[in-house]
């Protein structure tokens, strides 16, 4: 077991997969000599050369469209979108093409490709370097959407994504890159797509989250414990297809659920979790499921006061959890 940050785990996973499989290559803006703006691909250009670590032109539709074509022709591209906020120019290629290749050909075609994108806020990134996109893409059939919150999951889910025969959107919370450090197992350590994980057991209420909010929820659970409140923390890990069984299990276990995300509220992932619980664990609820999310304003402002006000944080989650516990 080695201790790594999330960015180290991601870089390492790409390196291991490229070593293992010559069909794996990276394409994106500044991924080459620059090593990516967050250094996620640092050193890979030097090690694997410009044919396997390709600096694309400044065009996201090109990055994804080319990745699709390469995947059709036997390669396993890892496409990097520099910031999740800049994925929109590629939405036609992702939503209408990549996500539909398998279905529209009744399985004749499939696309083993990964799209990596740093997302999330808390880094003074303002409106266009802080966005959450998991609900937008989670709604699209044919895509798999994963979000690791620990270095071990970051490595294991990225490996699973590279080896998966379908397009996987792999979202990396940029605030956690260097903030979150943890043990990474020796060996393969592949983490299956589609499986949530209880990161902390509890009995009084459940906190369901992913990304930076998962880290916050673990802090909150520790604080609640001191107050005699036993909180279970469920890490969704895969947004789509969601591990409904795990969601239902924790809801049935505690009867009280708080879903937390920093994405906008309306038709977000929390709403889907609430719907799943409504349909499958209604009878087991001791209180209405609650959600703590960003407000419905377009991403977080640059100004630190407004950024703070936008983001859910430990204090806000703690307050909401206490409120739920009291019900």
């Amino acid at each position: 077991m080695a201790s790594k940050t999330i960015i180290e785990a991601i870089r390492g996973a790409m390196d291991e997969e490229m070593e293992r499989d010559p069909s794996v290559f990276i394409i994106g803006e500044d991924v080459g000599i620059r090593g990516g703006v967050f250094l996620a691909t640092d050193g890979l250009y030097k090690k694997y050369g410009e044919d396997r670590v390709i600096d694309s032109p400044l065009a996201e539709s090109c990055i994804v469209g080319v990745a699709i074509g390469a995947a059709v022709n036997g390669m396993r591209p890892i496409a990097e979108i520099q910031f999740a906020d800049f994925i929109a120019p590629a939405m036609n290629q992702i939503i209408e093409e990549a996500a539909r290749f398998c279905y529209r050909t009744a399985g004749d075609f499939n696309l083993p490709m990964v799209i990596r994108a740093p997302w999330g806020g808390g880094v003074h990134g303002a409106l266009y370097h802080s966005q959450s996109i998991e609900a937008t893409f989670g709604h699209i059939p044919g895509l798999k959407v994963v979000i690791p919150s620990t270095p071990a999951d970051a490595r294991g889910l990225l490996k699973a994504a590279v080896r998966d025969p379908d397009p996987v959107l792999y979202l990396e919370h940029k605030r956690t890159y260097r903030l979150v450090r943890g043990e990474v197992p020796e060996g393969d350590g592949v983490v299956p797509i589609g499986k949530a994980e209880v990161k902390r057991e509890g009995t009084d209420l459940s906190l369901i989250a992913y990304g930076l909010m998962l880290t916050h929820c673990l802090d909150v659970a520790a604080k609640l414990a001191k107050e005699g409140i036993s909180a279970e923390v469920l890490d969704l890990r895969t947004i789509k297809p969601m591990d409904e069984a795990a969601v239902i299990a924790t809801a049935r276990k505690t009867g009280k659920v708080l879903v937390v995300h920093e994405d906008n509220r309306f038709a977000g992932i929390a709403a889907e979790v609430m719907a799943i619980i409504m349909e499958n664990a209604f009878d087991a609820l001791d209180a209405p499921v609650m959600r703590l999310t960003a407000p419905d304003v377009p991403a977080m402002p640059f100004n630190h006061t407004l950024e703070e006000a936008f983001m859910p944080n430990v204090e806000k989650i703690l307050a909401k959890a206490r409120e739920l516990a009291r019900l």
């Binding site: 279905y103 050909t105 009744a106 409904e244």
Partner: protein, 345 residues
């Protein structure tokens, strides 16, 4: 690198196909595929007008450009990323009249989509035909990606992608040509310019004469060719393929042609096209033009013509009969193949 737009003019003479290195047999195979594409298309309209199938979208008028370019490629080795009019391309690459009719009737056996997509949405991994959806111009980037993979593996396969002049206005067309140029990819960008994007004439689509002029802005050759002259199309494609195999990069081929039908069975082209214009272009029908050439060249003798007509008619008849009887997908097919690997609990 030559980046000027060359006006390729069809050279006369009875030996054009031989001087292009095409045997009489090859010349006739090209003719037969053009005929087959046309015959399947005409049958579809008939059936659609009888209310036996909801939708047709046609290749009629563009078979020369399609077969001329496709004939310069190696089916099974090279790749194509066609668009919805390219019946001539996919038939050359190994699809059959039966396949066409199975997708026309949206049957489970439809090799393109199992009855899921509209007719004209071609795709076959085995035949190296990249699946197409409806959004235009996306396939240009797919073609660049396919060609990138060939280059990464140091294979000499060429990828040809086809699109209309309207699709050339999409951002994806720009991004694809730019990327292919940067990496000198073995791509043929084939624009079948039929003068209209549904009702929108070229003058509202662009302020230039030739889409081919764009190639210079990316750094590779752009060629204009008479799309209704199948041999001229073969000639420019063969040149572009050779260049691509040498690793010298892409070529943009603009085939000037015309759509002889409405945009689709849902369209009424009388709203935007003059009858005279349509009539004029009928006289330029690429199949009729090729017939004239083949007869002059003494290749298309009556008995050959008759044999081909019989084969074509028979294939269309059998295909129609088979496909119309063929089973639909069943309700439980609906949920299949959302993913290749289903990981939902």
């Amino acid at each position: 690198m030559a980046t000027k737009t060359e006006q390729v003019q069809a050279k006369g003479g009875k030996n054009r196909h031989r001087s292009l290195g095409l045997s009489d047999d090859q010349a006739l195979r090209m003719y037969e595929v053009m005929r087959l594409a046309r015959a399947v298309d005409e049958r579809m309209w008939l059936i659609n007008r009888q209310g036996r199938a909801p939708f047709v979208i046609s290749c009629q008028g563009q078979e020369g450009a399609q077969v001329g370019v496709a004939a310069a490629l190696k089916p099974g080795h090279d790749w194509v990323a066609p668009y919805y009019r390219d019946a001539g391309v996919v038939l050359w690459f190994g699809m059959t009249a039966r396949d066409q009719m199975l997708s026309f009737f949206a049957r489970r056996e439809d090799p393109n989509s199992g009855g899921r997509q509209m007719p004209g949405h071609y795709g076959s991994r085995g035949l190296h035909i990249v699946t197409g959806g409806s959004p235009v111009a996306t396939q240009l980037l797919h073609a660049a990606g396919v060609a990138l993979a060939s280059k990464q593996r140091k294979e000499d396969a060429v990828t040809a992608t086809f699109f209309g002049e309207g699709a050339a206005s999409q951002g994806d067309a720009h991004e694809a040509m730019n990327f292919a140029a940067i990496h000198k990819l073995a791509v043929l960008f084939v624009c079948e310019n039929n003068g209209y994007a549904i009702s929108v004439p070229q003058t509202r689509q662009m302020a230039i004469q030739d889409v081919a002029q764009r190639a210079a802005g990316y750094g590779f050759p752009g060629v204009v060719v008479d799309g209704n002259d199948v041999l001229a199309c073969y000639e420019v494609a063969a040149t572009a393929v050779a260049r691509a195999r040498r690793g010298e990069g892409p070529t943009l081929i603009e085939a000037k042609t015309y759509r002889m039908t409405p945009h689709s069975s849902d369209d009424d082209d009388k709203r935007y096209r003059q009858a005279e214009e349509v009539a004029l272009w009928r006289t330029k029908d690429p199949i009729q033009a090729y017939i004239r050439y083949l007869r002059e060249a003494g290749v298309l003798r009556d008995e050959v013509e008759q044999a081909i007509t019989e084969r074509v008619t028979q294939q269309v008849d059998e295909a129609t009969e088979y496909a119309e009887q063929a089973p639909d997908p069943s309700v439980d097919d609906l949920l299949k193949f959302v993913y290749k690997k289903d990981v939902s609990g």
